[in-house]
Point group: C2
Chain length 478, copies 2
């Protein structure tokens, strides 16, 4: 077995010198250097100053804001460097963590407690022993099975590198028209970004509506917002082919479904979601959950001893339904990474699970959701009800605009199951009030009694959250 | 006994015609026609379409946004009519509620179940029978005991009428300088408003600091914000005299304390808080609580049968400390009014109490607080700790600015006791996340696990709420 001695110096890694001796420091290896991986490494370091910590990142970039990528395309972030949070240098000098980019981990042996790593340039494989392992392998684009994905002019914004490639094309080729495939968060943000860049945008969504995380009452407003800003929205239709010219350059997109058709375009953006990257773990015999992501307990431990996992490669418990769900988001990845890192360093942290909170800005509208939608609640077997209100986000005499608030509750118990909100202001942090109420398993009656802040520039005397809860109570009494 | 038949028509008040007959509808009388009183009347009507409902309001105005008055002075609200929510006409025609302005209730007999009313113009007293009574007599200015309060140039913004009088003076007399007495919410809002109107403002606060609802770490930032905008702040000093000229017009204000002194001024604004208006009830033998406000149970019932009370005249239970507190705010008044009205109509509603949430805008800063401050917690005997963090309200690469978040927790249990926040954005509804957590009696550990929304325009991947909770956890472990 080869020790992981690359580029380390003895003073930075006290354990390095004592490798294989009975006195050596334990070694934590982290696979993946974006959100979950670096949270785990940092947390472990804070708990144990002596642990040897190595992070292997396959790609060239670490620690950047993936959620900021659409804003780089949209032009609100001028320099991609603004999206980089920390450098490998920072981790080495400030946290005594070795972050190795361009290092792909190709194999994991839980019996030998080792990983096999390909260093940059495809040099000889190294097998590196671990005492504790954190898998933060993330997700990969769930690319649809359609011909033409290899044509020039097909892009995604899943990584910093793929986004930079798209930006270069936007700059140099000045495309006039774009087709976005997928109407989820990223598809919506990209529609906004590309309209801001002056492109003519078509968005094709396979499902019956955009932003399916919310119910029709909210998603229809999202669709209207896109159309108001000139986006052509095609729903219930799957893209079946990308067609190019002789130079293998994309020219046309065709789709089938309720609105079959095709359109000329200069570029395509894939926003068809992601799936967990689990091959390394699966090949090592680590258990997957029902969602296809890695199964972990609330300590973020996998089925293998001393192997933890966190972030977009794991499934997590939904605190409302109690079910395992795959809901990959940066916030969750960071929280899970923290727990995995703490436990990998011998701590006893627990991850509480999620309630499915998400928010997105689409042109002039803020859209938020948390908990279960009515559709989700019903498909899980809840006898649920929903109520929707329009209410001013702050005092109308100070220019307050309406937000639409939808609340979902269990009929018999009155328990809050979820909420959704859309409007030009005051949505993002109000949805957090519902998220907090869900975490506390409140009833709608309890939500209606919340002592929420009020001053005319920020709210109305009955906050929209309270109005929605009141309307839900009326609905439940019917 | 005289029936309350003034101006009613039989079809609007089916009960009126049958007065004193064994079949007559029951009569609900509400004393006070602003927030709590009209909420109670409206709620009662919704539950019982046959109840006769009469609201007596002493003043000329009903149903206006008292919280909006500083914005009228500041010029952000051009027309005071924008602050009026509903007219007596609206209540009569839309809700079949008789709202009688200029009617002062001077006596209450709980044994005869009657109130004595002086109609406008001082006509003969009327004694009016009630079956249920809601006292929503509100609060009155707690005017300091200083000579000169009767001078021309002394104002307050406690009611629409007193605010209109101030506005007329600002318009016609064009004062150049103002002294505000009191550094609470209203004093701060008035400082902002009068600077916006171009006045030179001095604020004199009796206590050791402004905005005492928050701890020093937050209130010092409030003070700096005032000074940055040219307000002269004098703390630890009580105004001892207002001095006028021969025409009884205010000319000078003198104060004593840590910074004794005096200043010439053209006007004074009293922002010295309010105290509950309880004389009517007290004279009738209804019990007061320890705070001097009316004591009510969680059904908003007073010590007298069939007599409910709500709003700024009652004390309420603080859900964090379990103690009775006097915390008069419009939101609470409306909620309590609703409960009182429901129960007066035979319902079984309960008021959950408050957690002490409040928010105020001061120039460029939003300031919020909920629960107990560290000072309050310690004075109540909690072994408490506090932690304060600075964190970006949203992604810095999209221009996010720092907010300061302070969290207070019980040392042994880790239970959240309170939170405070100040910053140029994203404060008001974030404080509501803490308010919700307090209502649910969460620990700081649970707050740190909240699944809060994140997208770069609205938050950072670790929301400031989560960062503050993490810092508090570190503090608790020390």
């Amino acid at each position: 077995m080869i020790s992981a001695g690359k580029g380390r110096t003895a003073d930075l890694n006290p354990g390095g010198l004592r490798c294989e001796s009975p006195m050596r420091a334990e070694r934590l290896i982290v696979v993946g250097g974006v959100a979950a991986g670096l949270s785990a490494a940092s947390r472990a370091r804070r708990l144990d100053p002596y642990l040897e910590i190595i992070v292997y990142e396959k790609g060239p970039d670490i620690s950047y804001s993936a959620c900021g990528l659409p804003y780089f395309i949209g032009g609100q972030v001028a320099d991609a460097d603004a999206l980089r949070v920390y450098s490998p240098e920072f981790f080495r000098t400030q946290r005594n963590i070795q972050v190795l980019t361009g290092h792909e981990v190709t194999e994991l042996s839980t019996s030998r407690r080792s990983v096999t790593v390909i260093p940059p340039g495809g040099a000889a494989l190294e097998e590196v022993h671990y005492d504790r392992l954190v898998l933060a392998t993330g997700a990969q684009p769930a690319r649809p099975q359609i011909p033409g994905l290899d044509l020039a002019g097909v892009f995604d914004v899943n990584t910093l590198q793929s986004t930079l490639a798209f930006e270069r094309a936007l700059d140099s080729e000045r495309p006039r028209r774009a087709v976005i495939i997928g109407g989820g968060y990223i598809g919506l943000e990209m529609a906004d970004a590309l309209v801001a860049r002056g492109l003519e945008v078509t968005l094709v969504e396979r499902g019956a509506r955009l932003f399916e995380a919310a119910d029709e009452e909210i998603s229809s407003i999202v669709e209207r917002e896109l159309e108001t800003h000139g986006v052509r929205v095609i729903k219930g239709s799957a893209v079946t082919a990308l067609m190019g010219d002789r130079e293998r350059r994309l020219r046309r997109v065709a789709w089938e479904g309720v609105a079959a058709g095709s359109a000329e375009t200069d570029c395509v953006v894939l926003a068809t979601g992601v799936r967990p990257r689990v091959k390394l773990a699966e090949d090592a015999g680590i258990e997957l959950g029902s969602t296809g992501a890695l199964a972990v307990d609330d300590a973020m431990q996998t089925s293998a001893a001393a192997v933890f996992a966190a972030g977009d490669c794991v499934e997590t418990k939904h605190r409302v339904s109690g079910r395992a769900v795959y809901f990959p988001l940066g916030t969750t990845a960071n929280k899970q990474g923290r727990v995995a890192g703490e436990n990998a360093a011998g701590g006893r942290a627990r991850f509480a699970g999620i309630v499915g909170t998400a928010v997105v800005k689409v042109f002039t509208q803020e859209v938020g959701r948390t908990g279960l939608s009515l559709a989700e609640a019903e498909s899980l077997g809840y006898a649920a009800r929903a109520a929707t209100v329009h209410a001013a986000a702050h005092a109308r005499y100070l220019g307050g605009k309406d937000v639409v608030v939808r609340v979902i509750a269990e009929r018999a118990s009155g328990r809050l199951l979820g909420a959704q909100m859309i409007g030009p202001e005051g949505v993002a942090k109000r949805i957090d009030v519902f998220a907090t109420a869900l975490q506390a398993r409140m009833t709608v009656e309890q939500v209606a009694q919340l002592d929420l802040s009020y001053a005319p520039p920020f709210s109305t005397v009955w906050d929209p959250v309270l109005r929605a809860a009141q309307e839900m109570l009326r609905e439940l009494r019917r």
